[in-house]
Symmetry: C2
Subunit: 277 residues, 2 copies
Amino acid sequence: MSEVILLLNPGAMGTSIGAALRGNGYRVLWVAAGRSAQTVERAEKTELQVVASLERGLADAEHVISVVPPDAALSVAKQVAAHGFTGTYLDANAVAPATAREIGAAIGDGCVDGGIVGPPAWRAGSTRLYLSGERAAKAAAWFADSPVDARVIEGAIGAASALKMCYASYTKGTSALLLAIRALAEHEHVSEALLDEWDISQPGLHQQSNAAGARTAAKAWRFEGEMHEIAATFEAADLPPGFHLAAAEIYRRIRELKDVPAEQVDIATVLEQLLAN
Amino acid sequence: MSEVILLLNPGAMGTSIGAALRGNGYRVLWVAAGRSAQTVERAEKTELQVVASLERGLADAEHVISVVPPDAALSVAKQVAAHGFTGTYLDANAVAPATAREIGAAIGDGCVDGGIVGPPAWRAGSTRLYLSGERAAKAAAWFADSPVDARVIEGAIGAASALKMCYASYTKGTSALLLAIRALAEHEHVSEALLDEWDISQPGLHQQSNAAGARTAAKAWRFEGEMHEIAATFEAADLPPGFHLAAAEIYRRIRELKDVPAEQVDIATVLEQLLAN
């Protein structure tokens, strides 16, 4: 009889994690209530098994994996804890170490801290899942030889989240900064001169800033919360949180672009949105 | 008889600009009062001609070029204006467009706005001097065929400064961000894991962050003011100033490293300083 893992919730990233677990022979449950048609379709394709409620899922599962937007991570953990769950609980969300420790306190000994680096894990080598805490090795074993490269790092609950915060603080922080700079150049009517200078002395940055616009438009709505978690991480270390509070504001201004078809979003759309808000 | 230009003041960048003007046959004056022995030596090497006072320099010169720390730019312009100077005045400093316009208002019709991109201009191709305003072409002509690549851009007083702000907002902003992230990783005891992940998915960033430490330590004291000018530029455009207020704080914390010999400053020194302040 295979072990059962409840996956909360199969979004773009979560579905790939569910598929990796299926590939390793685990039964993977998910809770359909309140999820979109797109999610249902994704989950069915990957042979994830639907359950009607969180209560039902927790009754059947030995383990839980939480892959949710950062601002939902703590409340999901508290709901799970409120049901008296005592199995292994992997929080794989982009949250501040302090939030991870709150999740650990809510869950108890079963908690594992995780941080994902990379895109949804559909092929080997693309995506690493960093894990910390006493049961980290146990959670890592679920993903042996799967497309999810699970790596245990030193440290207690909070270490894997800290690593994720550090990593995302550069990638998503510089994307937001590039968009802010492009918007500033538009406002000041110096875009052409700036892009010419970048082409001379910062080769690739022009293209990188265009790509930041197209790439982040659909995801900005959930980046905003992640930027707040990163800002809180800097602040707790007595380092300035302002880089990522500013990044949160940039993503907030473009969050409604998630509803615009991807092929209609380019850098011009993003800059217009940034300057109109 | 050659034209006379008063250079305020020959620091590392200013001296290279003075040398370019000398190469084009201009007499270049500078004011020695209150300057360091290092500056005197630099100026003598480049055949800049010392004058005893600002008043004396302004009496002899047809043109003035201001290359000073950002927070001194406006007060230098006001001092020059107070002496009744009516020639061409090139402000080549890293200031907000609004500061450039204040300088323009103080100086009057003779003002040219400038923004320098690149290191001190000792060889052709390394450094561009962007110029805007009605007399921009006149100032550009001073540098014809010199190592200073002077380029007139469209726009009034403020355009060249806006371009400089946009450019430096990325280079100096990301350097500060990298240092902040490295400090955060140290604080959270995940430096090794972060650098390993960067080596996998962000090749070069580890080295770039080390270099940011070594390179900025000596210059942080003047980057702080520049970051405030950039933050004001974003704010005036109704864009978030937080990236560069945070960068200013990072540079503030390491400004005292300017007095430590360069060969004794590495990333470890910088991180220690960032976390101690």
